[in-house]
């Protein structure tokens, strides 16, 4: 069963289309990044998934249940982007309130609250009113709130935007911990370096459409861009290379061939094959694309089109 699945999810506000066609599959236990330029429809998409906004068309499930299913919400955590909480509550009271709203019994709340306060580094602030909190502290307490119910799926909307480097580290550590616990994380963030460090897969959206989903974790499935130069870069060779990867291109000026392969384990096979073809190999250079490169490539391409 998937943590999130959407098919052709769409939201219109009057004549304005906020989300045109959203197709997502997020696996259980996966850390999933949701990327796109400002105004791409990310926030509306998250609000639809959480049942705050009703979709105009399309279907979606969270943890196997249709959107808006009330019991399912007990298994989900959410840290909103505009985290404004009841500022007249004390930190421990705030967590207790949200624990009650999750339907957690008193004993479980009393056990979980000190642990969570410690987890987000606010153990000594339990009795401080939220109005005395800095933006970073509010974000931390918001994060603790999202984890109260040991959720199976957590939505984090820009969780590091208000944080200093120490706070970002903390969020990264918490995401790592959630992954180990088997919790799926849906991460909406502008900080590509953060996303690159924490996410298993990311999807790019623009103008309310999902463009492409790519894997980020190190391992055989990570896409690599290969550049090679050989003795005879003819049509037959290019055709043959197509079996190893996609986007096979020949730069006629330099004679360099580039192609994107699925993972590094393809490289030795490709080298052997070139040898069998009696090709002289001058250059074979793999390059992992940074997330920023991919972002500009994928989202940029689309915006030019």
């Amino acid at each position: 069963m998937l943590a999130i699945e959407t098919t052709h999810l769409r939201k219109e506000f009057g004549s304005k289309v906020a989300v045109a066609d959203l197709n997502l599959e997020v696996a259980r236990g996966e850390v999933f990044g949701f990327l796109g330029p400002n105004g791409a429809g990310k926030t509306t998409a998250v609000k639809m998934l959480l049942g705050l906004t009703a979709p105009t068309a399309g279907e979606a499930t969270l943890l196997g249940a249709p959107l808006g299913d009330r019991p399912t919400r007990a298994r989900i955590g959410f840290l909103p982007e505009h985290f404004r909480f009841h500022e007249w509550l004390r930190a421990a009271e705030f967590l207790d309130l949200h624990g009650r709203l999750y339907g957690l019994p008193g004993a479980r709340r009393r056990a979980a609250i000190p642990d969570l306060l410690a987890l987000v580094g606010l153990a000594d602030r339990a009795e401080t009113q939220l109005k005395a909190f800095s933006k970073g502290m509010l974000q931390r307490i918001g994060l603790a709130q999202a984890l109260l119910n040991d959720p199976e799926l957590v939505f984090l909307d820009e969780p590091t935007s208000g944080l200093d480097p120490l706070g970002r580290r903390l969020v990264r550590d918490i995401i790592t911990y959630l992954r180990e616990e088997g919790t799926a994380v849906f991460l909406n963030s502008h900080l590509l370096s953060e996303v690159e460090r924490t996410c298993d897969r990311v999807t790019f959206i623009r103008r309310g459409r999902t463009l492409e989903t790519i894997a980020l974790r190190d391992g055989p499935e990570t896409a690599v861009r290969l550049t090679l130069r050989v003795g005879r870069p003819d049509a037959a060779l290019l055709q043959g290379l197509a079996q190893f990867g996609e986007h096979v291109l020949l730069d006629r000026g330099s004679g360099a061939i580039t192609l994107t392969i699925a993972g590094e384990e393809t490289i030795p096979r490709l080298a052997r094959w070139l040898h069998e073809q009696e090709q002289n190999l001058y250059t074979l250079s793999p390059q992992r694309l940074s997330l920023e490169d991919r972002f500009l490539q994928i989202v940029g391409e689309e915006s030019e089109g």
Binding site: K47, L52, R73, F83, F85, H86, W88, L101, G103
Partner: protein, 277 residues
């Protein structure tokens, strides 16, 4: 269950934001001013008046105090409840609440119940204080006290339901304008009805009745005062005023007010459940 949590939260907010303490303090101030004023008027009356005149005058003063209470309760209900839903939507506070396994209408109902309780307690403090003081100083008691207080409470609940319903769709300021203007129109209409009744102008009376249907708030006050002081309603001693009722509201108006409150509350529950956030 969640309704209860939201009710509790609303009361705690009123407490933490010092609304309760300021209201209590100012309420005591209100009662003190009335008490001192009443005492000195009574001193004067005791010297120069007979028992009957004294009773009428004391009853009239009490009616003025209760009328002020009725206005205060209405205005304060609007003030404290006008931001409760739209404010939490504006600040996005509502998002972390509604993504919990709660029903949206539980939020609205919880808030409504909390404000009802605060309103009832405050009404009891002010109106009860006035009545107690008048009784202790002059021995005068009102009639039909529980029924009359019930009508005054209903006055507050009507505007509460208006602001709660408005808050599910309107901005805080627009909601405040709506509530106060509705109140203002009904207030004006009620006076036109009174004056119309004095000069036996049926059109003026009809205007009053129509505005009362729009917001049956002021009309409940007139009903309440005829319950409290039935003899004063026909007394020729006092000239026309808010505590003298020339055009008697029909008892059906009370049923209408109850129905009005219930419908607005149900609409609010429904409206909030359906909106995008």
């Amino acid at each position: 269950m969640a309704t209860f949590i939201f009710a509790q939260l609303t009361i705690r907010e009123a407490q933490r934001r010092r609304i309760l303490w300021v209201a209590l303090l100012m309420g005591i101030g209100f009662l003190t001013v009335f008490g001192v004023g009443f005492h000195y008027v009574m001193l004067e009356l005791e010297m120069f008046s007979d028992g009957g005149t004294m009773n009428t005058a004391a009853g009239g003063l009490l009616a003025i105090g209760l009328y002020a209470t009725s206005l205060l309760v209405t205005v304060m209900t609007v003030l404290v409840s006008v931001t409760t839903i739209s404010g939490e939507i504006d600040t996005h506070t509502i998002e972390t609440l509604l993504t919990k396994p709660v029903r949206r209408w539980e939020v609205v109902l919880g808030k409504w119940l909390a404000f009802m309780l605060l309103l009832a307690l405050y009404l009891l403090l002010l109106a009860g204080g006035l009545m107690l003081f008048v009784y202790l100083r002059s021995g005068i008691t009102l009639q039909n006290v529980p029924a009359g207080l019930g009508l005054m409470l209903l006055q507050g609940l009507i505007v509460l339901s208006v602001t709660i319903l408005g808050g599910t769709r309107l901005s805080t300021l627009a909601n405040g304008v709506l509530a106060f203007m509705l109140f203002g129109i009904a207030f004006l209409g009620s006076w036109i009805e009174q004056i119309g009744a004095l000069f036996q102008n049926e059109t003026a009376v009809d205007i009053g009745i129509i505005t009362s249907l729009l917001l049956p708030n002021e009309v409940l006050w007139r009903r309440a005062v005829t319950l409290f002081l039935p003899e004063m309603a026909d007394s020729p001693v006092m000239s026309a005023g808010p505590f003298v009722v020339i055009s008697q509201p029909s008892p059906a108006m009370v049923w209408y007010a109850l129905f009005y409150t219930a419908v607005l509350l149900l609409l609010a529950l429904f409206s909030f459940s359906r909106r995008d956030l």
